[in-house]
């Protein structure tokens, strides 16, 4: 009985995994920068975007620094050396000018987003279920932002939500003031590269005392072949402002690896709060051979400058061939709070090295880390986290909980916590568990009538529930489905 059953399951497994939902390629006329990376490439990008001189200088300086930096090798991920000259650094849908409204956007691009289930038409959203929460969307297609919705409604309360390029044109003073102030150009190899070649991304400014009336979200889509995506997101929450922001990411299935090196900077002034959620579903590569997939090398950091400010990172990471990502919190303001809630799922041949950094600089700062790693297939999943307290950060507290769940026998989970307390008045707690999805629990659920697949989903959802609860309601459902899809066929 055993053999034919396993054989069928393996076949089903392969079929399902090959059906990466967002793996389609769209045939859209595009414009590229010449292949390769040089000061000329950067001038090309900057000229295309009609940028001011100061920004071009900023990019060129970053490029010079980047050439002196070494690619980091400390993460527990393995991949062949990247040839940075063998890629395109700018790919944009061909239009003479940027679209002024949704009507001017290439219908092919709209079709892509429709296929992804992302509503770009405000009417479409408004026509939806009565009382359904609205959320504004910025859609970034390869290197450029194609559309941002609900701008008028947001502008009415003073919230600026636009593409990064537009922010450079319309709000240069804000961009100049805050760009690179959280993640300096030379911060690390990939952030430095991003600073030199970043193409577009989202920009948000919430004025003092304003609670942003809707969820803001950006959907990133890499479409072009042999191109990287280097977006830059900058969110500023002024005094006592609040904003909840979500980003989603998908890419087509391609045999070659594509680099995604983004930088996200969050600035929080006094009493401000930012909730930043990510649902990352980049193409993970072929589950059998490991061929293709996105290299997701991302730098995300929040700077809690103001007293009592609060930032919360929630991430659901299911995609990418390799993930290298540590959303961090600089807790400078007195009594500021940093939170990190993470679900990282690896299957097939995926490798993830992800976690967070909580840097306690101010007194009475608090942080909380809940990390749920799930490894299946032949994948490797590492939690790497730093919690540190400066001598001035007296009375600071951290609670960390890292749980790893293993599904199957060929996967690996690692937990690498770094804890540094440089004063005698901080309290750091760390709890970690590693468990294998138990055959007993699976059988118990199956005996109650759940199929093996349903049983795995139910148990995994139980494992990640604490984190899913942190996501905005409408995305929690999406994330739950994504968790299920990522693990389909992982038991057999």
């Amino acid at each position: 009985m055993a053999n034919p059953r396993i054989a069928t399951q393996t076949v089903e497994h392969v079929e399902r995994l090959e059906a990466y939902e967002h793996g389609f390629v769209s045939d859209i006329e595009q414009e590229f920068a010449p292949k390769g990376l040089s000061a000329d490439t950067i001038r090309f990008i900057s000229a295309k975007k009609e940028e001011p001189q100061w920004l071009l200088d900023w990019r060129l300086e970053a490029f010079e620094r980047w050439q002196e930096l070494e690619e980091p090798a400390w993460a527990k991920v393995h991949f062949p050396r990247i040839d940075y000259q063998d890629a395109y650094y700018y790919a944009a849908p061909k239009t003479k000018e940027g679209p002024k409204s949704l009507d001017e956007v290439d219908p092919e691009i709209l079709a892509v987003y429709a296929k992804l289930g992302i509503p770009l038409g405000e009417q479409a959203v408004l026509a939806g279920v009565q009382g359904a929460p609205k959320y504004a969307v910025d859609a970034v297609f390869d290197s450029v932002s194609v559309v941002t919705t609900f701008k008028k409604e947001l502008a009415a309360v003073g919230v600026i939500f636009c593409s990064f390029s537009e922010a450079v044109r319309e709000h240069p003073e804000l961009v100049k003031k805050y760009l690179g102030s959280v993640v300096p150009t030379s911060d690390n190899y990939y952030a430095c590269l991003n600073s030199a070649v970043f193409s577009d991304g989202s920009f948000v400014y919430v004025p003092p005392g304003v609670r942003c009336p809707m969820e803001l979200s950006t959907y990133f889509r890499i479409n072009a072949a042999e191109s990287g995506q280097f977006e830059r997101t900058l969110i500023i929450a002024d005094k006592a402002a609040y904003v909840s922001y979500l980003e989603g990411c998908t890419a087509p299935m391609r045999d070659e690896n594509q680099l995604h090196a983004a930088v996200v900077e969050l600035v929080l002034l006094e009493d401000a709060e930012i909730k930043y959620s990510t649902v990352q579903n980049w193409y993970p590569g072929d589950p059998q051979t490991g061929k293709g997939g996105i290299y997701n090398f991302v730098t995300k950091r929040a700077d809690c400058r103001g007293d009592r400010s609060k930032v919360s990172w929630t991430q659901v990471e299911t995609g990418s061939a390799i993930t290298w990502k540590y959303p961090s919190c600089l807790l400078r303001g007195e009594g500021s709070v940093g939170e990190f809630y993470s679900i990282a799922i690896t299957n097939g041949r995926q490798q993830a090295d992800t976690g967070t950094k909580m840097i306690h600089l101010g007194a009475n700062t608090r942080s909380r880390i809940i990390s749920k790693g799930i490894s299946a297939g032949k994948s490797s999943n590492t939690y790497r986290g730093l919690v540190s307290a400066h001598p001035k950060a007296t009375g600071s507290r951290n609670f960390t909980q890292c749980d790893s769940l293993l599904i199957g026998k060929d996967c690996a989970a690692h937990t690498v916590p770094y804890i540094e307390a440089r004063n005698g008045h901080s309290i750091f707690e760390h709890e970690a568990t590693t468990t294998r999805l138990s055959e007993d629990q699976l059988f118990y659920a199956q005996q109650r009538g759940l199929s093996e697949e349903e049983a795995v989903q139910l148990l995994v959802n139980g494992f990640v529930r604490e984190v899913l609860q942190e996501l905005p309601m409408e995305f929690a459902v999406e994330a739950q489905k994504l968790v299920a899809i990522s693990l389909e066929g992982s038991v057999g």
Partner: protein, 250 residues
Amino acid sequence: MLSIQNLHASVGDKPIIKGLTLDVPAGEVHAIMGPNGAGKSTLSYVLTGRDGYEVTDGSATLNGEDLLALEPAERAAKGVFLSFQYPLEIPGVPALTFIRAAVNAQRKARGEEEIAAPAFLKTAKAEAARLKIDFDMLKRPLNVGFSGGEKKRMEILQMAMLSPKFLILDETDSGLDIDALKIVSEGVNAMRAPDRGMLVITHYQRLLDYIKPDRVHVLAAGRIVASGGPELALQLEAEGYDKYVTKDAA
């Protein structure tokens, strides 16, 4: 109802069930008693299709339908329910969520519509009250941090909600104090019906004071070595299993 013919089953390379034959007609409660290691729990796992319990010969049918060819979930949908000796903890999954998922999975497998939330909640409330389970407990992750007695009551609650055709109770009395034993037994007795069969696996006679069997079988070394009425259980209680164990060894 349940018919087991000349069943042989192994765990790994080790034969545990060695030619077991047993018939439980609809409407009857049969008890299986036996010493430790006789194969009592193995029998319950073989009937429910647990991985690693391999049938090497014989058959087991429910109302004429071959059970052994089915996946565990399919057997459950056909109405086979096992009350576990050690119910599992399911972290992060509220009991209500778990039970509702199970009810709906079985309904789906039978081509029935999903149960609506209000109807489900109403039944769950009524059944919980009958088993003296605080309803708030059903909002907590299933069995996590529950006492032994609470876990067993939760098994009976699931049984009531799933309304199976054939029940297997594996050492349901273990870990129960006398009050819990009464509540659990009442719950089981309420399930007695002309079209429903039950197999009560137990080491001690005590449970059978509360759940009265129609027949009692002695399982030793993987086979039924004696069968009789309820008086057989009392006799075993008085004399122990020695004579069956030695008989097999001889």
